[in-house]
Subunit: 689 residues, 2 copies
């Protein structure tokens, strides 16, 4: 058993230094391992010098890993994607190729065969495609799914950090002994200056944790794969809700920075004023990520190589058909049967239609709106491939959130969902109330701080680049980046329970108190800005209850350490938690839980509601299951653990007469004014992880 576990661990060595050939020693911890690659496995380039290579690289290894010779798979069209091209899941052609490789990996009978097959494929297949397919296969094979797949940033740091880092990292790694290496500082403002107003929220868009979350979300909720992989509980609704919350959070960051809420991208034939210059280098493609300059227009796409031919007209037809379904209250499937967009499940169907996933009831008719928007925007600089340009950052879920236009596109996408939500019955007072339960007081407190003040500041953290620094000497080298952070705080909620002991769901949201003009909100506008901070079950004794909850316990976030987790060979193998680890990489980064605020203190309203857990409860066993970021990520292989519509109670238009938040409240809700106070100071780096 221990030996099996050890063997399967060897799969993780394949993530190390993705461009270095398979016969070069791989490291985990300080241990150097070398695959005993059969000479028939070598690529054409290395076959003629196989003996020389075996001698040179064999000597330095601490361990030799035997590779079983298997009947070699036919990689066929997978090799059509060249090793130095970029790989993007948004392109159907690339998805198909990845799917083939995943099938080959899943088809291997034993772990040993799987390792052998992966060893064979690794130097032949595009490294980005290989790593994606390897991860999906590991996640879905019963015999490997408890492996701890490394975070994408360790293998491909180029997708997350300033390209300037790499030349400096090469200098540190070559010139300086490991013990004396210094972290390479990434300036806080390296993509633009404040002359560009959009840059004021770059700290959010370019946050490494945020982009890791987004990549991870789309890894665990793929829109195309085997049906059993895609068809997760309420995945369409989760697509809506997670992205709705992203836009809401972005809007609050904008308001904190004196920017108006983001405008929907709906004029598809007009120049897009906001440009974006990512300043990332693709090391695999050996090309920079292309910039999107100011005032470019979308064009019809005709890229033979990517097998993408699409017109703006087509996008418009899809949009109009989806709106038609929304306003009719039903969609039509591919046999022209009506599919009602019901009060509770309509949003899930609509999510799959809009995204679109293979669960869309009629992809031929409703098309592929959201995904194709990403594609159109990512090829805006070279729509017909005349310039042989790769996709821009919008073409990759690992990088898309960096670009301001991501939010403009998703504001449009979200608006379609809101249009549907507006057709639903309003929540009645009865539906909102929890009889006999009154929230009588709410406060937040942080150490040594005024009550009801949330404190934010900058923090520096380090991330090790060395596993992604191909063809350089070994040993860690760190990039130091600056990100938003907040002081940990605690909620105290006082609840009066007039009834017997029972359970409630405590729902905590935050929204700005005033609009761009400084005026109080109309509820119908403010409701779209409520961001979820936490959701948890509480036990209510009869009488007065004082509930306390720490900000670090949030159901929205994962801890900082998990966002940036490193491949850790010697991790004590707690199988139960390891098995969930990969899924659990999905989660909003804890350090972005609270918006930046302002130095004067940004006025917000903290909303707390206790709903009746009997109505919310989903009967399932979630023991031993990682669920600490369930609000945006759900729970692996389980039902979404809340029967309410996601975003409840803010997901619908209010009942008649409710034009302010105060009027919306029932006794089981309470609003507390809070301030977010930003201090322009930078906390020293955390210990290296």
């Amino acid at each position: 058993m221990a030996q099996t576990a050890n063997k399967k661990q060897n799969l993780l060595l394949l993530y190390d230094r993705p461009l270095e050939p398979i016969f070069v020693s791989k490291e985990a911890g300080k241990k150097k391992s070398i695959f005993d690659v059969p000479s028939t496995y070598l690529t054409e380039r290395y076959k003629p010098i196989g003996i020389d290579i075996a001698n040179r690289f064999g000597e330095e290894a601490d361990e030799r890993i035997p590779v079983k010779e298997i009947r070699l798979p036919d990689l066929g069209p997978i090799l059509d994607l060249k090793r130095d091209e970029n790989f993007t899941l948004f392109l159907p052609k690339h998805r198909t190729l990845a799917g083939r490789l995943i099938d080959i990996f899943l088809g291997m009978r034993t772990v040993e065969d799987f390792i052998s097959c992966a060893v064979y494929a690794r130097d032949r297949v595009n490294p980005l495609l290989f790593n994606y397919a390897l991860s999906v296969a590991i996640l879905h094979r019963p015999d490997t799914r408890n492996l701890d797949v490394p975070s994408l940033i360790t293998t491909f740091p180029e997708k997350y950090v300033d390209s300037k880092v790499f030349t400096k990292a090469r200098e540190e790694m070559t010139i300086v002994s490991e013990g004396s290496r210094e972290p390479i500082i990434i300036p806080k403002d390296y993509t633009a200056s404040d002359l560009e107003h959009e840059h004021r929220v770059a700290y959010f868009r370019e946050d490494i944790g945020l982009n890791l979350h987004h990549w991870h979300w789309h890894l665990v909720y793929p829109f195309e794969a085997a049906r059993e992989v895609v068809n997760k509980n309420r995945r369409g609704e989760l697509f809506y809700y997670m992205h709705q919350q992203v836009v809401a959070r972005y809007n609050i960051e904008r308001l904190c920075n004196k920017l108006n809420r983001v405008e929907r991208l709906i004029k598809w034939r007009e120049p897009i004023p906001e440009g974006y210059f990512p300043k990332l280098d693709s090391i695999v493609a050996s090309r920079a990520w292309p910039a999107r300059v100011a005032n470019q227009r979308l064009s019809n796409l005709s890229r033979d190589q990517d097998q993408i031919h699409a017109d703006i007209d087509t996008l418009e037809r899809w949009r109009d058909r989806i709106y038609e379904a929304i306003h009719q209250g039903f969609a039509q499937d591919d046999r022209n049967n009506r599919i009602e967009l019901t009060e509770t499940e309509g949003i899930d169907i609509l999510g799959n239609i809009v995204e679109s996933s293979i669960l869309s009831p009629n992809r031929d008719y409703y098309g592929d709106l959201h995904n194709m928007g990403h594609i159109f925007l990512s090829f805006i600089h070279d729509p017909d491939h005349r310039n042989l340009e790769p996709a821009g950052v919008m073409g990759d879920s690992a990088t898309a959130m960096r670009d301001p236009v991501f939010y403009r596109w998703h504001a449009f996408v979200d608006d379609m969902f809101q249009e549907h939500k507006a057709t639903l019955p309003r929540y009645s007072v009865q539906q909102l109330t929890f009889d006999g339960v009154t929230v009588s007081d709410v406060s937040v407190s942080s150490q040594n701080s005024t009550p009801n003040v949330l404190n934010t500041f900058w923090q520096q953290s380090d991330v090790d680049l060395s596993r992604g620094m191909d063809f350089q000497p070994r040993g860690s080298v760190f990039a130091r980046f600056t990100h938003l952070q907040h002081q940990p705080f605690r909620y105290t909620v006082t609840v009066d329970n007039n009834g017997a002991q029972r359970q409630g769901t405590c729902r905590i949201f935050l929204a700005p108190k005033f609009d761009e003009r400084g005026n109080p909100w109309l509820f119908r506008d403010q409701k779209g800005l409520f961001i979820e901070l936490d959701r948890f079950v509480v036990n209510l004794r009869q009488g007065k209850n004082t509930i306390t909850r720490n900000s670090t316990e949030s159901s929205v976030t994962i801890p900082f350490e998990r966002t940036f987790r490193n491949l850790d060979w010697d991790r004590p193998a707690d199988q139960a938690s390891l098995e969930q680890f990969n899924f659990c990489g999905c989660g909003w980064p804890q350090h972005l839980l609270i918006p930046k605020g302002t130095t004067d203190g940004y006025a917000c309203e903290l909303f707390v509601m206790i709903s009746n857990y009997q109505d919310d409860r989903v009967a399932q066993d979630i023991s031993g299951v990682c669920n600490d970021a369930m609000s945006y990520c759900g729970i692996k292989d389980r039902l979404y653990p809340d029967r309410k519509s996601m975003g409840f109670p803010f997901d619908r238009m209010p009942r008649d007469g409710v034009d302010t938040l105060r009027k919306f409240l029932t006794p089981n809700m309470r609003v507390q004014d809070v301030q977010i106070r930003f201090q322009d100071r930078t906390l020293r780096p955390r210990a290296k992880n």
Copy 2:
């Protein structure tokens, strides 16, 4: 003496691996040398680990080079340009900084002090600026000017080759022993596809030799430096002529590829339809060279960091004032005195005004038109620096000729010069004739080929990248690129001399026979398309003379080997030729002497003229002086060796009644129809140089 020569050679080690710190061993040939750097010379980063470093890097050296401790210079504002920024001579701020460093280097009393000072500066100053200043100082110090400064491509290959090369080169250098390394192939079409019509002439624009020539020309004819450096004989005229010939050559390449002649860039407020995606990476700046997307417009510039604030209005005023000077026939200096634009010297003044160089008689009034055009175009993607973007390829003479807009800009610039030329008296028959000399026959021949056919094809060549591959193991690694080539050929000119023995200047030009529509040219249009192929002095006996001349002897070109010359430590030190070597790097690449032609055979007219050498001759001693590319580059520290106006006899409007080339001819001229026949085959690589 031998020791002095040896010491001075050590300066060349400073070009090796421009980013690797000074204390790392430097290589020349296979010899490893290490500078014994005083600990006070180390940068702040390396001072704390100085002992460790001295031990690690000292061991591997074959030779230790003592570094004299001098009173350290104050680098002051030179350090304002960060090490990882791009450096561009077109920016006045950068020129000023370079000028300061050059002055410091020139001020060192001895070679030993100069070496010490350069050793100190090297790791502190921006590497591009350092290398430029070092080259200029070496070229201008009497005690170092016979050193063989390496070609820019060996130090900064990133400015010349596809960025994809570098990841592959790292793999070869790390994985493969030197003897087994394979060249990295640069695809012929890597920047665009033929969907982009402009790409049809990319082989010309992106030719490495062409771009090296252009960089070299501007290195030996700087527009700003100490007056004695700038004020070279007829340098303004040479600016006009070299660039006029570039545009003419580009136009012929276009016509061969069924493209119309290039359009002048005169609509400065309208979108520029042709984009350009250079696909170069700046390793120093650790950033890609920015792309210029299709349909962008120029904007007013306001880049504080670069100290550039300029409006399109300003460009227009400069343009209009220059046209005013042209049409009035005189410029005005900074005291409002008239400066006549005379028949022979007006063009030289105008060249300095337009470029502009410090020889411009009134830079405040006539401005800096040509240079600022480069600047406006190079910042088109980020005119106010809001996106912290570096300059595009138009901002660097090493890369500018890659971009189609270079030729559109220079077509405009050339048009101003032609406007002046049109005001000059026409050449009379008397001025054109060489009494008693008749050219009775002209032909060209190549081995095994039909007479009067020039044969072109592709050829592959290799260039060693290893000196520019910082932080990689040693040993050559080659990039293999494909360029135009032609079969060597020979001119045979038969001249009847009715007079006594005398000398003539044989002038050979080539132009297309037909225009875009397939019609014969009007002379006034065709004259702008004549490209110079050769110019040389001939001795004419009485009676019939048969003159033969090889294409490799051209006064326009330098040999392939010189274009790509490598730093060659063990070069047999022929002092006389070494002294000229740097200057002689200037010259049109031999492999681009003949335009591409077409597979059917592109119809051209070869024009040969013998003018009277007594009228052309410049009395000076040019023995031992490198002058084999004098047509476009002049001769170092000498007068331009031809008294005729550059471009003679095609530099003016023709006399009345001359509307075709035939009518233009006098007996000492002759035209021969020739064809340029292109074969789409690729010659195997030349031996590595």
